[in-house]
Symmetry: C2
Protein backbone atom coordinates (compact mmCIF):
# COMPACT_ATOMS: atom_id res chain seq x y z
CA UNK A 1 0.00 0.00 0.00
CA UNK A 2 1.05 3.59 -0.64
CA UNK A 3 3.04 4.64 2.43
CA UNK A 4 1.27 8.03 2.50
CA UNK A 5 -2.10 6.27 2.69
CA UNK A 6 -0.89 4.22 5.64
CA UNK A 7 0.45 7.34 7.32
CA UNK A 8 -2.76 9.25 6.83
CA UNK A 9 -4.73 6.41 8.37
CA UNK A 10 -2.40 6.43 11.39
CA UNK A 11 -2.60 10.24 11.66
CA UNK A 12 -6.36 10.10 11.58
CA UNK A 13 -6.53 7.48 14.33
CA UNK A 14 -4.21 9.46 16.58
CA UNK A 15 -6.00 12.72 15.78
CA UNK A 16 -9.13 11.11 17.14
CA UNK A 17 -7.37 10.00 20.31
CA UNK A 18 -6.14 13.56 20.86
CA UNK A 19 -9.59 14.95 20.16
CA UNK A 20 -11.07 12.67 22.80
CA UNK A 21 -8.59 13.97 25.37
CA UNK A 22 -9.16 17.60 24.34
CA UNK A 23 -12.89 17.04 24.61
CA UNK A 24 -12.48 15.47 28.03
CA UNK A 25 -10.36 18.23 29.52
CA UNK A 26 -12.08 21.24 28.01
CA UNK A 27 -15.22 22.39 29.80
CA UNK A 28 -18.59 21.88 28.01
CA UNK A 29 -19.57 24.56 25.56
CA UNK A 30 -22.83 25.26 27.36
CA UNK A 31 -21.10 26.11 30.64
CA UNK A 32 -21.32 29.56 32.13
CA UNK A 33 -20.26 32.08 30.80
CA UNK A 34 -21.29 30.60 27.46
CA UNK A 35 -19.52 32.76 24.88
CA UNK A 36 -16.01 31.91 26.02
CA UNK A 37 -16.76 28.20 26.28
CA UNK A 38 -18.11 28.23 22.75
CA UNK A 39 -15.05 30.15 21.55
CA UNK A 40 -12.64 27.71 23.22
CA UNK A 41 -14.18 24.73 21.52
CA UNK A 42 -14.69 26.51 18.23
CA UNK A 43 -10.97 27.12 17.83
CA UNK A 44 -9.86 23.82 19.31
CA UNK A 45 -12.05 21.78 16.98
CA UNK A 46 -11.70 23.94 13.87
CA UNK A 47 -9.96 21.16 11.97
CA UNK A 48 -6.28 21.43 12.79
CA UNK A 49 -3.88 18.79 11.53
CA UNK A 50 -2.78 17.89 15.09
CA UNK A 51 0.78 17.56 13.79
CA UNK A 52 2.42 18.39 17.13
CA UNK A 53 0.52 15.84 19.24
CA UNK A 54 1.01 13.29 16.45
CA UNK A 55 4.76 13.80 16.74
CA UNK A 56 4.62 13.30 20.51
CA UNK A 57 2.73 10.07 19.99
CA UNK A 58 5.05 8.77 17.26
CA UNK A 59 8.14 9.48 19.37
CA UNK A 60 6.52 7.74 22.33
CA UNK A 61 5.64 4.74 20.17
CA UNK A 62 9.26 4.25 19.26
CA UNK A 63 9.39 2.70 22.73
CA UNK A 64 5.92 1.93 24.04
CA UNK A 65 2.60 0.87 22.55
CA UNK A 66 -0.01 2.19 24.97
CA UNK A 67 -0.37 5.90 24.34
CA UNK A 68 -2.65 6.67 27.29
CA UNK A 69 0.02 8.06 29.64
CA UNK A 70 1.35 10.55 27.09
CA UNK A 71 -1.85 11.66 25.32
CA UNK A 72 -2.65 14.48 27.82
CA UNK A 73 0.86 15.85 27.24
CA UNK A 74 0.32 15.68 23.48
CA UNK A 75 -2.99 17.49 23.90
CA UNK A 76 -1.31 20.16 26.05
CA UNK A 77 1.09 20.99 23.22
CA UNK A 78 -1.85 21.32 20.83
CA UNK A 79 -3.59 23.68 23.27
CA UNK A 80 -0.53 25.94 23.37
CA UNK A 81 -0.46 25.85 19.57
CA UNK A 82 -4.12 26.84 19.32
CA UNK A 83 -3.61 29.60 21.92
CA UNK A 84 -0.80 31.06 19.82
CA UNK A 85 -2.89 30.98 16.63
CA UNK A 86 -5.80 32.82 18.26
CA UNK A 87 -3.56 35.57 19.63
CA UNK A 88 -1.65 35.78 16.34
CA UNK A 89 -4.90 36.35 14.45
CA UNK A 90 -6.07 39.19 16.72
CA UNK A 91 -6.07 42.74 15.35
CA UNK A 92 -3.36 43.48 17.95
CA UNK A 93 -1.01 41.28 15.93
CA UNK A 94 -1.80 39.91 12.44
CA UNK A 95 -5.48 40.82 12.13
CA UNK A 96 -6.34 37.70 10.18
CA UNK A 97 -9.99 36.89 9.46
CA UNK A 98 -9.51 33.26 8.48
CA UNK A 99 -7.82 30.26 10.05
CA UNK A 100 -8.01 26.58 9.17
CA UNK A 101 -10.67 27.26 6.55
CA UNK A 102 -13.03 29.01 8.95
CA UNK A 103 -13.51 32.49 10.35
CA UNK A 104 -10.87 33.07 13.02
CA UNK A 105 -11.90 33.13 16.67
CA UNK A 106 -12.10 36.92 17.09
CA UNK A 107 -13.96 37.29 13.79
CA UNK A 108 -16.73 35.13 15.23
CA UNK A 109 -16.71 35.95 18.95
CA UNK A 110 -15.12 39.38 19.14
CA UNK A 111 -11.63 40.44 20.23
CA UNK A 112 -12.13 40.32 24.00
CA UNK A 113 -13.65 36.85 24.03
CA UNK A 114 -11.00 35.49 21.67
CA UNK A 115 -8.22 37.00 23.77
CA UNK A 116 -9.55 35.38 26.95
CA UNK A 117 -10.39 32.07 25.28
CA UNK A 118 -6.79 31.76 24.14
CA UNK A 119 -5.53 32.71 27.61
CA UNK A 120 -7.59 29.94 29.12
CA UNK A 121 -6.32 27.40 26.58
CA UNK A 122 -2.77 28.30 27.50
CA UNK A 123 -3.55 27.92 31.19
CA UNK A 124 -5.40 24.65 30.58
CA UNK A 125 -2.32 23.27 28.82
CA UNK A 126 -0.30 23.47 32.03
CA UNK A 127 -3.13 21.96 34.02
CA UNK A 128 -3.62 19.00 31.71
CA UNK A 129 0.03 17.96 32.04
CA UNK A 130 -0.62 17.38 35.73
CA UNK A 131 -3.23 14.75 34.83
CA UNK A 132 -0.88 12.60 32.71
CA UNK A 133 -0.08 9.20 34.17
CA UNK A 134 3.62 9.89 34.49
CA UNK A 135 5.73 10.52 37.57
CA UNK A 136 5.78 13.90 39.27
CA UNK A 137 9.39 14.64 38.38
CA UNK A 138 8.53 14.28 34.69
CA UNK A 139 5.42 16.46 35.04
CA UNK A 140 7.55 19.18 36.62
CA UNK A 141 10.10 18.85 33.82
CA UNK A 142 7.37 19.09 31.16
CA UNK A 143 5.81 22.16 32.78
CA UNK A 144 9.21 23.86 32.90
CA UNK A 145 10.23 22.95 29.36
CA UNK A 146 6.85 23.75 27.85
CA UNK A 147 7.02 27.15 29.55
CA UNK A 148 10.53 27.75 28.25
CA UNK A 149 9.67 26.71 24.72
CA UNK A 150 6.42 28.64 24.53
CA UNK A 151 7.54 31.72 26.48
CA UNK A 152 9.74 34.72 26.03
CA UNK A 153 12.74 32.62 25.06
CA UNK A 154 10.72 30.61 22.54
CA UNK A 155 7.39 30.92 20.77
CA UNK A 156 6.60 34.40 22.15
CA UNK A 157 10.02 35.71 21.11
CA UNK A 158 9.39 34.38 17.61
CA UNK A 159 5.99 36.05 17.43
CA UNK A 160 7.44 39.28 18.76
CA UNK A 161 10.19 39.40 16.16
CA UNK A 162 7.69 38.47 13.49
CA UNK A 163 5.76 41.65 14.37
CA UNK A 164 8.90 43.77 14.52
CA UNK A 165 10.09 42.52 11.15
CA UNK A 166 6.90 43.24 9.26
CA UNK A 167 7.51 45.41 6.24
CA UNK A 168 11.28 45.34 6.82
CA UNK A 169 13.83 43.47 4.80
CA UNK A 170 14.98 40.71 7.15
CA UNK A 171 18.31 38.93 7.01
CA UNK A 172 18.87 35.18 7.28
CA UNK A 173 19.77 35.38 10.95
CA UNK A 174 16.49 37.09 11.85
CA UNK A 175 14.46 34.71 9.70
CA UNK A 176 16.05 31.72 11.40
CA UNK A 177 15.48 33.24 14.83
CA UNK A 178 11.79 33.76 14.10
CA UNK A 179 11.12 30.30 12.77
CA UNK A 180 13.35 28.35 15.10
CA UNK A 181 11.40 29.91 17.94
CA UNK A 182 7.94 30.13 16.46
CA UNK A 183 7.61 26.81 14.65
CA UNK A 184 10.61 24.49 14.85
CA UNK A 185 10.93 24.81 18.63
CA UNK A 186 7.40 23.63 19.34
CA UNK A 187 7.68 20.81 16.80
CA UNK A 188 10.91 19.74 18.38
CA UNK A 189 9.55 19.77 21.91
CA UNK A 190 6.55 17.73 20.79
CA UNK A 191 8.94 14.95 19.75
CA UNK A 192 11.12 15.46 22.80
CA UNK A 193 8.20 15.05 25.20
CA UNK A 194 7.18 11.80 23.51
CA UNK A 195 10.70 10.44 23.81
CA UNK A 196 11.19 11.67 27.38
CA UNK A 197 7.81 10.28 28.40
CA UNK A 198 8.90 6.85 27.18
CA UNK A 199 12.31 7.18 28.88
CA UNK A 200 14.25 7.13 25.62
CA UNK A 201 18.02 6.66 26.03
CA UNK A 202 19.92 9.98 25.86
CA UNK A 203 21.69 9.07 22.62
CA UNK A 204 18.44 8.28 20.84
CA UNK A 205 16.83 11.41 22.28
CA UNK A 206 19.44 13.54 20.56
CA UNK A 207 18.80 11.74 17.25
CA UNK A 208 15.08 12.44 17.63
CA UNK A 209 15.82 16.10 18.36
CA UNK A 210 18.03 16.35 15.31
CA UNK A 211 15.18 14.97 13.23
CA UNK A 212 12.78 17.40 14.94
CA UNK A 213 14.80 20.54 14.36
CA UNK A 214 15.06 19.70 10.66
CA UNK A 215 11.44 18.77 9.96
CA UNK A 216 10.41 21.83 11.98
CA UNK A 217 12.16 24.07 9.49
CA UNK A 218 10.84 22.05 6.54
CA UNK A 219 7.33 22.53 7.88
CA UNK A 220 7.81 26.31 7.95
CA UNK A 221 9.51 26.56 4.54
CA UNK A 222 6.72 24.53 2.93
CA UNK A 223 4.17 26.74 4.71
CA UNK A 224 5.82 29.81 3.22
CA UNK A 225 5.95 28.23 -0.26
CA UNK A 226 2.31 27.19 -0.07
CA UNK A 227 1.37 30.73 0.89
CA UNK A 228 2.75 31.83 -2.47
CA UNK A 229 1.65 28.88 -4.57
CA UNK A 230 -1.31 27.36 -2.77
CA UNK A 231 -4.91 28.29 -3.06
CA UNK A 232 -6.81 29.75 -0.16
CA UNK A 233 -9.38 26.96 -0.40
CA UNK A 234 -6.84 24.18 0.14
CA UNK A 235 -4.89 25.90 2.91
CA UNK A 236 -7.91 27.27 4.71
CA UNK A 237 -6.32 30.60 5.40
CA UNK A 238 -5.72 33.79 3.51
CA UNK A 239 -2.91 33.11 1.01
CA UNK A 240 -0.50 35.58 -0.52
CA UNK A 241 -0.84 37.50 2.69
CA UNK A 242 2.71 37.00 3.85
CA UNK A 243 4.01 38.87 0.86
CA UNK A 244 1.36 41.57 1.09
CA UNK A 245 2.23 42.13 4.76
CA UNK A 246 5.96 42.04 4.12
CA UNK A 247 6.36 39.00 6.38
CA UNK A 248 9.69 37.35 7.03
CA UNK A 249 9.49 34.22 4.87
CA UNK A 250 12.01 31.79 3.43
CA UNK A 251 11.10 32.55 -0.21
CA UNK A 252 11.47 36.28 0.51
CA UNK A 253 14.95 35.81 1.94
CA UNK A 254 16.30 32.84 -0.05
CA UNK A 255 14.13 32.86 -3.18
CA UNK A 256 11.66 30.13 -4.19
CA UNK A 257 14.09 27.71 -5.80
CA UNK A 258 16.64 27.88 -3.00
CA UNK A 259 13.86 27.46 -0.40
CA UNK A 260 12.62 24.33 -2.20
CA UNK A 261 16.12 22.92 -2.26
CA UNK A 262 16.61 23.67 1.44
CA UNK A 263 13.37 21.91 2.33
CA UNK A 264 14.40 18.91 0.24
CA UNK A 265 17.88 18.68 1.73
CA UNK A 266 16.65 19.11 5.31
CA UNK A 267 14.12 16.32 4.75
CA UNK A 268 16.83 13.96 3.55
CA UNK A 269 18.99 14.86 6.55
CA UNK A 270 16.08 14.29 8.93
CA UNK A 271 15.41 10.86 7.40
CA UNK A 272 19.07 9.89 7.54
CA UNK A 273 19.28 10.89 11.20
CA UNK A 274 16.18 9.01 12.29
CA UNK A 275 17.10 5.94 10.20
CA UNK A 276 19.74 5.13 12.78
CA UNK A 277 16.87 4.00 15.01
CA UNK A 278 16.03 1.24 12.51
CA UNK A 279 12.66 -0.09 11.33
CA UNK A 280 10.66 1.40 14.19
CA UNK A 281 11.34 4.87 12.77
CA UNK A 282 9.51 4.10 9.50
CA UNK A 283 6.51 6.32 10.24
CA UNK A 284 8.74 9.25 11.12
CA UNK A 285 10.54 8.84 7.78
CA UNK A 286 7.29 8.71 5.83
CA UNK A 287 6.08 11.72 7.79
CA UNK A 288 9.16 13.71 6.79
CA UNK A 289 8.37 13.04 3.12
CA UNK A 290 4.74 13.91 3.71
CA UNK A 291 5.63 17.26 5.29
CA UNK A 292 7.80 18.07 2.28
CA UNK A 293 5.23 17.15 -0.35
CA UNK A 294 2.03 18.32 1.37
CA UNK A 295 -0.27 20.61 -0.56
CA UNK A 296 -2.20 21.99 2.37
CA UNK B 1 3.90 51.53 67.82
CA UNK B 2 0.93 52.00 65.50
CA UNK B 3 0.10 48.48 64.21
CA UNK B 4 -0.36 49.86 60.67
CA UNK B 5 3.15 51.29 60.74
CA UNK B 6 4.54 47.91 61.78
CA UNK B 7 2.51 46.21 59.07
CA UNK B 8 3.67 48.62 56.39
CA UNK B 9 7.28 48.02 57.37
CA UNK B 10 6.72 44.26 57.09
CA UNK B 11 4.93 44.65 53.74
CA UNK B 12 7.77 46.74 52.40
CA UNK B 13 10.39 44.20 53.44
CA UNK B 14 8.50 41.34 51.84
CA UNK B 15 7.76 43.41 48.72
CA UNK B 16 11.50 43.76 48.31
CA UNK B 17 12.03 40.03 48.69
CA UNK B 18 9.43 39.37 45.99
CA UNK B 19 10.96 42.02 43.76
CA UNK B 20 14.34 40.32 44.04
CA UNK B 21 12.81 37.02 42.92
CA UNK B 22 10.87 38.67 40.09
CA UNK B 23 14.06 40.38 38.97
CA UNK B 24 15.96 37.10 39.11
CA UNK B 25 13.47 35.10 37.07
CA UNK B 26 12.52 37.67 34.47
CA UNK B 27 14.94 38.03 31.57
CA UNK B 28 17.04 41.25 31.35
CA UNK B 29 15.33 44.19 29.70
CA UNK B 30 18.10 44.54 27.12
CA UNK B 31 17.65 40.99 25.82
CA UNK B 32 16.53 40.32 22.28
CA UNK B 33 13.86 41.20 21.13
CA UNK B 34 14.13 44.34 23.26
CA UNK B 35 10.62 45.81 23.16
CA UNK B 36 8.92 42.86 24.81
CA UNK B 37 11.58 42.55 27.49
CA UNK B 38 11.18 46.21 28.32
CA UNK B 39 7.38 45.84 28.41
CA UNK B 40 7.57 42.82 30.74
CA UNK B 41 9.65 44.66 33.28
CA UNK B 42 7.78 47.91 32.87
CA UNK B 43 4.51 46.33 34.00
CA UNK B 44 6.06 44.05 36.60
CA UNK B 45 7.86 46.89 38.34
CA UNK B 46 5.21 49.58 37.90
CA UNK B 47 4.66 49.82 41.64
CA UNK B 48 2.08 47.17 42.54
CA UNK B 49 1.23 46.59 46.20
CA UNK B 50 2.30 42.94 45.97
CA UNK B 51 -0.67 42.04 48.16
CA UNK B 52 -1.01 38.51 46.82
CA UNK B 53 2.61 37.43 47.36
CA UNK B 54 2.50 39.14 50.75
CA UNK B 55 -0.43 36.94 51.71
CA UNK B 56 1.43 33.82 50.59
CA UNK B 57 4.37 34.83 52.73
CA UNK B 58 2.25 35.67 55.80
CA UNK B 59 0.42 32.34 55.60
CA UNK B 60 3.73 30.53 55.25
CA UNK B 61 5.16 32.39 58.24
CA UNK B 62 2.35 31.13 60.43
CA UNK B 63 4.46 27.96 60.42
CA UNK B 64 7.99 28.64 59.18
CA UNK B 65 10.44 31.53 59.34
CA UNK B 66 12.64 31.11 56.27
CA UNK B 67 10.65 32.34 53.28
CA UNK B 68 13.10 31.22 50.58
CA UNK B 69 11.29 28.01 49.57
CA UNK B 70 7.95 29.75 49.01
CA UNK B 71 9.02 33.09 47.52
CA UNK B 72 9.09 31.83 43.89
CA UNK B 73 5.52 30.59 44.35
CA UNK B 74 4.51 33.99 45.75
CA UNK B 75 6.17 35.66 42.77
CA UNK B 76 4.33 33.33 40.38
CA UNK B 77 0.99 34.51 41.74
CA UNK B 78 2.04 38.12 41.24
CA UNK B 79 3.02 37.35 37.64
CA UNK B 80 -0.42 35.92 36.93
CA UNK B 81 -1.93 39.02 38.51
CA UNK B 82 0.16 41.35 36.34
CA UNK B 83 -0.69 39.29 33.25
CA UNK B 84 -4.38 39.71 33.96
CA UNK B 85 -4.06 43.48 34.45
CA UNK B 86 -2.24 43.94 31.13
CA UNK B 87 -4.84 41.96 29.19
CA UNK B 88 -7.66 43.69 31.06
CA UNK B 89 -6.31 47.10 30.04
CA UNK B 90 -6.08 46.23 26.32
CA UNK B 91 -8.55 47.84 23.92
CA UNK B 92 -9.93 44.32 23.35
CA UNK B 93 -11.29 44.44 26.90
CA UNK B 94 -11.32 47.58 29.10
CA UNK B 95 -9.22 49.94 26.99
CA UNK B 96 -7.65 51.62 30.02
CA UNK B 97 -4.80 54.05 29.53
CA UNK B 98 -3.56 54.12 33.12
CA UNK B 99 -2.59 51.51 35.68
CA UNK B 100 -0.82 51.85 39.00
CA UNK B 101 -0.26 55.56 38.37
CA UNK B 102 1.50 55.06 35.07
CA UNK B 103 0.55 54.63 31.45
CA UNK B 104 -0.67 51.07 30.96
CA UNK B 105 1.50 48.60 29.07
CA UNK B 106 -0.23 48.86 25.71
CA UNK B 107 -0.34 52.67 25.94
CA UNK B 108 3.46 52.67 26.06
CA UNK B 109 4.47 49.68 23.95
CA UNK B 110 1.51 49.10 21.63
CA UNK B 111 -1.22 46.47 21.72
CA UNK B 112 0.69 43.59 20.14
CA UNK B 113 3.71 43.92 22.42
CA UNK B 114 1.53 44.27 25.53
CA UNK B 115 -0.51 41.22 24.54
CA UNK B 116 2.59 39.08 24.12
CA UNK B 117 4.36 40.48 27.19
CA UNK B 118 1.39 39.44 29.32
CA UNK B 119 1.32 36.01 27.67
CA UNK B 120 4.94 35.49 28.56
CA UNK B 121 4.36 36.59 32.17
CA UNK B 122 1.60 34.02 32.47
CA UNK B 123 3.85 31.32 31.03
CA UNK B 124 6.73 32.38 33.25
CA UNK B 125 4.51 31.99 36.31
CA UNK B 126 4.16 28.28 35.69
CA UNK B 127 7.86 27.93 35.04
CA UNK B 128 8.90 29.73 38.22
CA UNK B 129 6.89 27.33 40.39
CA UNK B 130 9.14 24.54 39.17
CA UNK B 131 12.14 26.34 40.69
CA UNK B 132 10.73 26.55 44.22
CA UNK B 133 12.54 24.46 46.81
CA UNK B 134 9.55 22.28 47.56
CA UNK B 135 8.85 18.67 46.67
CA UNK B 136 7.67 17.69 43.20
CA UNK B 137 4.22 16.58 44.37
CA UNK B 138 3.60 20.05 45.76
CA UNK B 139 4.88 21.73 42.59
CA UNK B 140 2.45 19.64 40.56
CA UNK B 141 -0.37 20.54 42.93
CA UNK B 142 0.47 24.26 42.70
CA UNK B 143 0.62 24.17 38.89
CA UNK B 144 -2.77 22.46 38.78
CA UNK B 145 -4.45 24.73 41.32
CA UNK B 146 -2.95 27.92 39.92
CA UNK B 147 -4.25 26.88 36.50
CA UNK B 148 -7.69 26.14 37.89
CA UNK B 149 -7.90 29.40 39.80
CA UNK B 150 -6.58 31.57 36.97
CA UNK B 151 -8.30 29.76 34.09
CA UNK B 152 -11.75 29.35 32.63
CA UNK B 153 -13.21 28.26 35.97
CA UNK B 154 -11.63 31.17 37.83
CA UNK B 155 -10.03 34.47 36.93
CA UNK B 156 -10.77 34.23 33.19
CA UNK B 157 -14.43 33.42 33.85
CA UNK B 158 -14.63 36.49 36.08
CA UNK B 159 -13.08 38.70 33.40
CA UNK B 160 -15.36 37.24 30.78
CA UNK B 161 -18.49 37.93 32.77
CA UNK B 162 -17.19 41.38 33.60
CA UNK B 163 -17.12 42.11 29.85
CA UNK B 164 -20.53 40.59 29.26
CA UNK B 165 -22.06 42.58 32.09
CA UNK B 166 -20.83 45.97 30.96
CA UNK B 167 -23.65 48.43 30.59
CA UNK B 168 -26.19 45.91 31.89
CA UNK B 169 -27.88 45.96 35.24
CA UNK B 170 -26.33 43.01 37.08
CA UNK B 171 -27.91 41.09 39.93
CA UNK B 172 -26.21 40.07 43.16
CA UNK B 173 -25.52 36.55 41.92
CA UNK B 174 -23.65 37.80 38.86
CA UNK B 175 -21.72 40.37 40.88
CA UNK B 176 -20.62 37.70 43.32
CA UNK B 177 -19.64 35.35 40.50
CA UNK B 178 -17.47 38.02 38.91
CA UNK B 179 -15.63 39.02 42.04
CA UNK B 180 -15.32 35.62 43.63
CA UNK B 181 -13.58 34.52 40.46
CA UNK B 182 -11.72 37.65 39.49
CA UNK B 183 -10.40 38.87 42.81
CA UNK B 184 -11.29 36.79 45.86
CA UNK B 185 -10.21 33.52 44.23
CA UNK B 186 -6.66 34.67 43.54
CA UNK B 187 -6.35 36.25 46.98
CA UNK B 188 -7.55 33.06 48.54
CA UNK B 189 -5.17 30.86 46.59
CA UNK B 190 -2.28 33.13 47.57
CA UNK B 191 -2.98 32.34 51.21
CA UNK B 192 -3.67 28.70 50.47
CA UNK B 193 -0.31 28.21 48.71
CA UNK B 194 1.52 29.72 51.67
CA UNK B 195 -0.25 27.39 54.07
CA UNK B 196 0.14 24.32 51.84
CA UNK B 197 3.80 25.12 51.27
CA UNK B 198 4.35 25.09 55.02
CA UNK B 199 2.33 21.88 55.43
CA UNK B 200 -0.39 23.52 57.51
CA UNK B 201 -2.78 21.08 59.24
CA UNK B 202 -6.05 20.64 57.30
CA UNK B 203 -8.15 22.27 60.00
CA UNK B 204 -6.02 25.40 60.09
CA UNK B 205 -5.93 25.49 56.29
CA UNK B 206 -9.70 25.79 56.23
CA UNK B 207 -9.57 28.65 58.75
CA UNK B 208 -7.02 30.44 56.55
CA UNK B 209 -9.26 29.91 53.53
CA UNK B 210 -12.25 31.29 55.37
CA UNK B 211 -10.21 34.39 56.21
CA UNK B 212 -9.04 34.58 52.57
CA UNK B 213 -12.47 34.40 51.00
CA UNK B 214 -13.68 37.22 53.23
CA UNK B 215 -10.77 39.63 52.86
CA UNK B 216 -10.85 38.91 49.12
CA UNK B 217 -14.34 40.32 48.93
CA UNK B 218 -13.44 43.22 51.22
CA UNK B 219 -10.55 44.08 48.92
CA UNK B 220 -12.92 44.26 45.94
CA UNK B 221 -15.67 46.20 47.73
CA UNK B 222 -13.14 48.78 48.95
CA UNK B 223 -11.73 48.98 45.42
CA UNK B 224 -15.19 49.74 44.08
CA UNK B 225 -15.83 52.34 46.81
CA UNK B 226 -12.47 54.01 46.16
CA UNK B 227 -13.31 54.20 42.48
CA UNK B 228 -16.26 56.39 43.40
CA UNK B 229 -14.67 58.34 46.23
CA UNK B 230 -10.95 58.22 45.64
CA UNK B 231 -8.88 60.53 43.55
CA UNK B 232 -7.10 59.31 40.48
CA UNK B 233 -3.78 60.54 41.87
CA UNK B 234 -3.98 58.34 44.97
CA UNK B 235 -5.24 55.24 43.22
CA UNK B 236 -3.01 55.54 40.20
CA UNK B 237 -5.72 54.56 37.80
CA UNK B 238 -8.62 56.25 36.10
CA UNK B 239 -11.34 56.71 38.76
CA UNK B 240 -15.06 57.02 38.25
CA UNK B 241 -14.57 54.81 35.25
CA UNK B 242 -16.48 51.84 36.64
CA UNK B 243 -19.64 53.90 36.73
CA UNK B 244 -19.01 55.48 33.34
CA UNK B 245 -18.53 52.04 31.81
CA UNK B 246 -21.52 50.56 33.60
CA UNK B 247 -19.28 48.07 35.41
CA UNK B 248 -20.64 45.51 37.85
CA UNK B 249 -19.64 46.97 41.22
CA UNK B 250 -20.79 46.51 44.80
CA UNK B 251 -21.96 50.13 45.23
CA UNK B 252 -23.95 49.82 41.98
CA UNK B 253 -25.72 46.69 43.20
CA UNK B 254 -25.92 47.20 46.97
CA UNK B 255 -25.54 50.98 47.30
CA UNK B 256 -22.64 52.78 48.99
CA UNK B 257 -23.80 52.48 52.60
CA UNK B 258 -24.68 48.80 52.38
CA UNK B 259 -21.35 48.08 50.62
CA UNK B 260 -19.45 49.83 53.42
CA UNK B 261 -21.34 47.79 56.00
CA UNK B 262 -20.63 44.56 54.13
CA UNK B 263 -16.92 45.33 53.98
CA UNK B 264 -16.91 46.12 57.68
CA UNK B 265 -18.78 42.95 58.67
CA UNK B 266 -16.66 40.70 56.44
CA UNK B 267 -13.51 42.18 57.97
CA UNK B 268 -14.74 41.39 61.48
CA UNK B 269 -15.64 37.84 60.40
CA UNK B 270 -12.22 37.36 58.81
CA UNK B 271 -10.48 38.54 61.97
CA UNK B 272 -12.63 36.31 64.18
CA UNK B 273 -11.87 33.29 62.00
CA UNK B 274 -8.12 33.82 61.94
CA UNK B 275 -8.00 34.64 65.66
CA UNK B 276 -8.49 30.94 66.38
CA UNK B 277 -4.85 30.50 65.31
CA UNK B 278 -3.74 32.67 68.24
CA UNK B 279 -1.00 35.29 68.49
CA UNK B 280 0.84 34.20 65.36
CA UNK B 281 -2.11 35.46 63.28
CA UNK B 282 -1.62 39.07 64.48
CA UNK B 283 -0.28 40.38 61.16
CA UNK B 284 -3.18 38.84 59.27
CA UNK B 285 -5.62 40.59 61.60
CA UNK B 286 -3.89 43.95 61.19
CA UNK B 287 -3.84 43.39 57.45
CA UNK B 288 -7.60 42.81 57.42
CA UNK B 289 -8.11 46.20 59.09
CA UNK B 290 -5.65 47.79 56.70
CA UNK B 291 -7.48 46.43 53.65
CA UNK B 292 -10.71 47.87 54.99
CA UNK B 293 -9.36 51.33 55.78
CA UNK B 294 -6.94 51.78 52.87
CA UNK B 295 -7.24 54.93 50.81
CA UNK B 296 -5.37 53.70 47.73
Amino acid sequence: MDPFVLLKKDMKEKQEQVNIILDRYLPRKDEYPKEIHKALRYSTFAGGKRLRPYLTMLAYQLYKDNLDPITPVAAAIEMVHTFSLIHDDLPDIDDDEYRRGKKSCHAVFGDGVALLAADSLLINAFEIITYAEIDDALKVQFVRELAQESGIKGLIAGQMLDIESEGKKVDKKTLNFIHNNKTAGMINIALRFGALGAKAPAKELSVIEEYGSKIGLVFQIVDDLLDIEGSSAKLGKTTGKDEAQGKATFPAVYGVEESRKMAHDLTEQAKTAISTLGDRSLKLRILADHLLSRKS
